[in-house]
């Protein structure tokens, strides 16, 4: 028996799959294990990125991957999978038709000197919104376009760590293992893993992001024609719904793709102006629902990847920062009841108020966003973020905190914003 176990541990099988046209292979990597994928014959793609033949692609623990082929192919998996199966029932044809329609719109925009299509993808959690975004972006880039990817999902964002929204200009298809290359992203601090914590701030930074995107479009014709694809968080009821409408309005979207919820589709059709096209599309059968613990650990993994890298290891720096060298702020203050205020004064909006914080024990293990602002005259809320650091230790006696930073000392900027995201650095 022990021999068997050892055998199993030492020698995972090689699984070969033969895929017909328009089928996909779905598999999930076992926790703690890795899987190597190799394309031996034919042509296939992973979420829109073509696989290079005979190259080995490695996926880490917990990764869920789908390999789709238009022409038919043979794929070899090496490693232990939670599950691996071939499916014929995919909405890929629908998604590719969506891409074709968007491409038509881009062509029209190019010919007529208009703005390119702006697409927003909405739907409840776990329907494959991020995947669909990735797919549409990849197809667009493969045709030579320069679409912008805007990620409004503060919980499971793929541009920066959770707790932020941002946008990147996509110039290359996403890497199969690592996703989109994050050169010069535009990040805005939000600070919480859920938009409900501070809706005012959320809507405000969405507006700012849209503003910057519009400015980019004015300057860069290619970017303007290619349009943008906006990913949203999975909150589609109540205030979340309102934030969807707000985002649609700020970004002036032309198309909204609703995944897998008829009620949301009907509501959006009713509430949005008539010139916005709202379509309903099914989710893919391969979408796996992630329970809360999985999502939490996914968030932590994102922060870890920020500091330590995905495959290529990155080496963050750890050094001390004096309290006096930095100014730490928090966005949002508790709302005061009107009876506490003197007569004739009106409370300014508490949700977007900047509160200065004295560094202390309460900020240990929190991630801090480094703002690009050079002075307090630039509104810290509306300024984009340069990067993140994590406070690993606070020494009140010496008035010094130890931080984990992607770049060596000294810190490039002075002003920082506190986020709710915590990261325990175990390595």
């Amino acid at each position: 028996m022990a021999e068997n176990k050892e055998e199993k541990k030492e020698d995972p099988k090689d699984q070969e799959f033969k895929l017909e046209k328009d089928t996909e292979l779905r598999f999930e990597v076992e926790t703690g294990g890795t899987i190597t994928l190799e394309l031996s014959e034919g042509m296939a793609e992973v979420f829109g990125t073509e696989l290079v033949k005979n190259k080995k692609f490695t996926f880490g623990s917990g990764a869920k991957v789908a390999v789709f082929t238009w022409h038919g192919c043979k794929v070899v998996l090496h490693g232990r999978t939670e599950f691996a199966y071939v499916s014929k029932d995919t909405p890929m044809v629908m998604y590719v038709n969506t891409h074709a329609a968007l491409e038509q719109m881009r062509q029209q925009a190019q010919d007529q000197g208009k703005r390119g299509p702006r697409v927003m993808i909405v739907g409840p959690t776990d329907v494959g919104k991020s995947t669909l975004c990735r797919l549409l972006l990849n197809y667009a880039v493969r045709l030579g376009r320069r679409p912008t990817f805007v990620d409004l999902d503060v919980g499971q964002g793929s541009i920066a760590i959770p707790g932020t929204i941002g946008g990147i200009l996509v110039e290359r298809p996403a890497d199969v293992e690592e996703g989109f290359s994050l050169q010069a992203p535009l990040i805005y601090h939000f600070g919480h893993a859920s938009p409900g914590a501070n809706m005012e701030l959320y809507e405000r930074i969405i507006a700012k992001c849209a503003d910057v995107f519009n400015q980019r479009c004015e300057l860069n014709r290619q970017a303007s024609v290619s349009g943008c694809i906006i990913n949203t968080c999975g909150w589609v009821k109540g205030e979340g719904y309102r934030s969807i409408l707000h985002a649609a309005r700020e970004f002036e979207v032309d198309v909204i793709i609703v995944l897998d919820q008829e009620r949301l589709y009907n509501d959006l059709k009713r509430d949005l102006p008539g010139f916005v096209k709202v379509v309903l599309q099914p989710k893919s059968g391969g979408v796996v629902e992630r329970p809360q613990p999985v999502r939490r650990s996914a968030r932590e993994d994102r922060v870890r990847e920020y500091f330590y890298g995905v495959r290529q290891p990155l080496y963050p720096h750890s050094f001390d920062v004096k309290f006096a060298d930095v100014s730490l702020y928090q966005v949002g203050a508790p709302a005061l009841p009107d009876s506490c205020l003197p007569l004739d004064t009106q409370q300014e909006n508490p949700y977007t108020k900047l509160v200065h914080i004295q560094p202390g024990a309460q900020i240990v293990h929190h991630v801090l966003s480094l703002s690009m602002a050079d002075s307090l005259k630039d509104n810290l809320i509306d300024t984009n973020i340069a990067g993140f650091i994590c406070v690993t230790n606070v020494d009140m006696e010496r008035q010094v905190m130890t931080v984990l930073s992607p770049a060596p000392r000294p810190l490039p900027k002075r002003y920082m914003l506190l986020t709710d995201i915590r990261f325990m650095d175990f390595r």
């Binding site: 197809y139 004015e218 919820q261 008539g274 010139f275 599309q281």
Partner: protein
């Protein structure tokens, strides 16, 4: 047989005429006839009460009226003009013209003088003419029967007679003024005789730029809508033409007799005069403003296509040609063809046509566990929108939408002292932001909308019946010339009291046809004539302290 009707020269008087000659005593008696007219008015007796007094009164009245009707008209033969009634033409040809009536009554044609039936009867009534028929002079009663008869209704004659007795000069309505207002202003009518103008027809005429005078006689019952488009059509070519004229192009343009697209040109000799002063009346200016507005909107549309990339564009995506797959319930596209290769990246090959079967996908229609539906939630956020104000339906692109919403946001009134009024289901009709002036508030409160007849005539349906304007009325004027009557001072339409009142469409149509000359409606009730006119009046909607 007598060929010539010049009876004055005839020696042989018929016996009837002999009897009509009066002796000197009779003449004197006639001159001193009692000319009292029975009084009108007084208290009314509602019902016969069988009394002798009433009976006597009645009998007295009857005999008086009979006497009046039987009154003879006496005049010297030498003073009487003579005319012959031509039954087939319905006109009386004047043979002997004595007196001054020809100054303003009658018309001539090919050297002969003619009178219309109402003119002839009127002249008979006023003792100025004797009309012969079959060589016999007609009696008044006979004249009414024969001449008026079917051609001229009793009411029309009564109106004619009444106004003529008052001194006005009436001619039958001429639907077209042969000389336009402009031509009269430059005194072109002095130089071109009316006959020549009539002979030339409309080809040589400069059409007036007023809508009323552009209506041809054929268009009696055109509805308002083609009129309006006609007006604008005519204005545009007319204005273009004015530019041509200014650049001194002398090419005459063919005139089509159809109403819709008529292009007029000027005879060569008149271009130089036209170049000088092209003054426009108020109505012309209005037309011009309307045309300018039209030009502007066209320009804006053109601009939209060429505008910069990010400045908001007027054109929107044409989703009928671009089909995005949609499995929503209301999507009517069930099959999407394979996209062409240039839309797909290399390596992607779509093998099948996409068939959308909306029932096949079960799309998570289950209700959430708790919480209100989005619509309820939104109704608290968005104030109740009036349908016509809803920016979502009205706007065509984001720029318009945001503009409209921005205007709405000002009205959101989170800080207004009356904000609480809008929180319930029943909301006020008027918003504080509407209070710019009284007129704006009143327009919000009006249930029945005022319409301005000139502007809204195109939306009226066709009138039920067509009515013609009867007479053109001129003020008593010694300078009146039949050959060049000019613009009438009034126009009159005749109606019987028992006929239904004209509907709005008819009023508007006739007013338009007659404008700028005022139109009166003469309503005849057994000899009593009342004149009505319909003018547009605006109730004041504003006050100034």
């Amino acid at each position: 047989m007598m060929d010539s009707y010049d009876i004055a020269e005839e020696e042989d008087y018929s016996p009837r005429m002999k009897a009509a000659h009066l002796s000197a005593q009779e003449l004197l008696a006639h001159r001193n006839l009692d000319r009292t007219v029975p009084p009108r008015g007084g208290t009314k007796d509602y019902a016969p009460d069988g009394s002798l007094e009433q009976e006597e009164k009645l009998q007295g009245m009857y005999s008086l009226y009979r006497r009046m009707l039987a009154e003879e008209r006496v005049n010297k033969i030498g003073n009487l003009s003579k005319a012959i009634w031509l039954e087939d033409q319905g006109l009386a040809e004047v043979t002997v013209d004595k007196g001054k009536f020809w100054h303003h009554i009658g018309h001539s044609n090919e050297g002969k003088k003619y009178l219309y039936p109402e003119e002839a009867v009127f002249l008979m009534e006023t003792n100025a003419i004797e009309v012969y028929w079959n060589k016999l002079p007609l009696a008044i009663q006979q004249a009414y029967a024969m001449m008026l008869g079917n051609r001229v209704s009793m009411e029309q004659y009564q109106v004619y007679a009444h106004l003529s007795r008052l001194g006005y000069i009436l001619i039958r309505h001429q639907s077209r003024e042969h000389f336009s207002w402009y031509e009269r202003q430059i005194q072109l009518d002095e130089y071109i005789p009316l006959k020549q103008r009539i002979k030339e027809g409309s080809s040589a005429q400069v059409r007036d730029w007023f809508p009323s005078n552009q209506h041809e006689e054929q268009t009696t019952s055109t509805s308002g809508e083609p009129d309006k488009t006609e007006e604008v059509h005519r204005d545009n070519p007319a204005r273009q033409k004015s530019k041509e004229v200014k650049s001194a192009s002398d090419s005459p343009v063919e005139h089509s007799t159809s109403n819709q697209t008529s292009r007029d040109s000027l005879p060569k000799g008149q271009t130089s005069r036209m170049e000088g002063r092209i003054e426009q009346s108020v109505e012309d200016e209005q037309m011009e403003i309307e045309c300018n507005r039209k030009d502007k909107t066209e320009k804006q549309e053109e601009k939209g296509v060429d505008s910069l990339v990010t400045s908001s564009y007027e054109c929107k995506w044409d989703f009928t040609n671009i089909s995005i797959p949609n499995v929503g319930q209301d999507c009517d596209v069930s099959e999407i063809p394979i996209p062409c290769a240039e839309l797909l990246p290399t390596g992607v090959q779509v093998n099948n046509v996409l068939k959308i079967n909306t029932g096949a996908f079960s799309l998570n229609t289950k209700r959430g566990r708790k919480g209100k539906s989005n619509s309820e939630h939104l109704s608290k956020i968005v104030p109740n929108l009036r349908a016509e104000d809803d920016p979502r339906k009205v706007s065509r692109n984001w720029m318009e939408f945001k503009k409209l919403c921005g205007a709405k946001r000002e009205m959101d009134m989170s800080d207004s002292p009356v904000a609480h009024l809008w929180q319930g289901e029943v909301t006020p009709l008027v918003r504080p932001s509407d209070a710019t002036d009284m007129g704006a508030i009143l327009s919000r409160l009006q249930v029945i909308q005022n319409i301005s007849l000139e502007k809204e005539c195109c939306s009226l349906p066709k009138p039920d019946r067509s009515l013609d304007i009867a007479y053109d009325v001129f003020l008593p004027d010694s300078h009146f010339k039949k050959s060049k009557p000019g613009r009438p001072n009034l126009r009159v339409c005749v109606q019987r009291f028992s006929e239904p009142a004209p509907d709005l469409a008819l009023i508007v149509q006739l007013n338009q046809r007659s404008s700028p000359v005022p139109l009166l409606w003469a309503v005849v009730d057994n000899g009593d004539i009342s004149f009505y006119s319909f003018t547009e009046a605006d109730l004041p909607t504003d006050y100034h302290m």
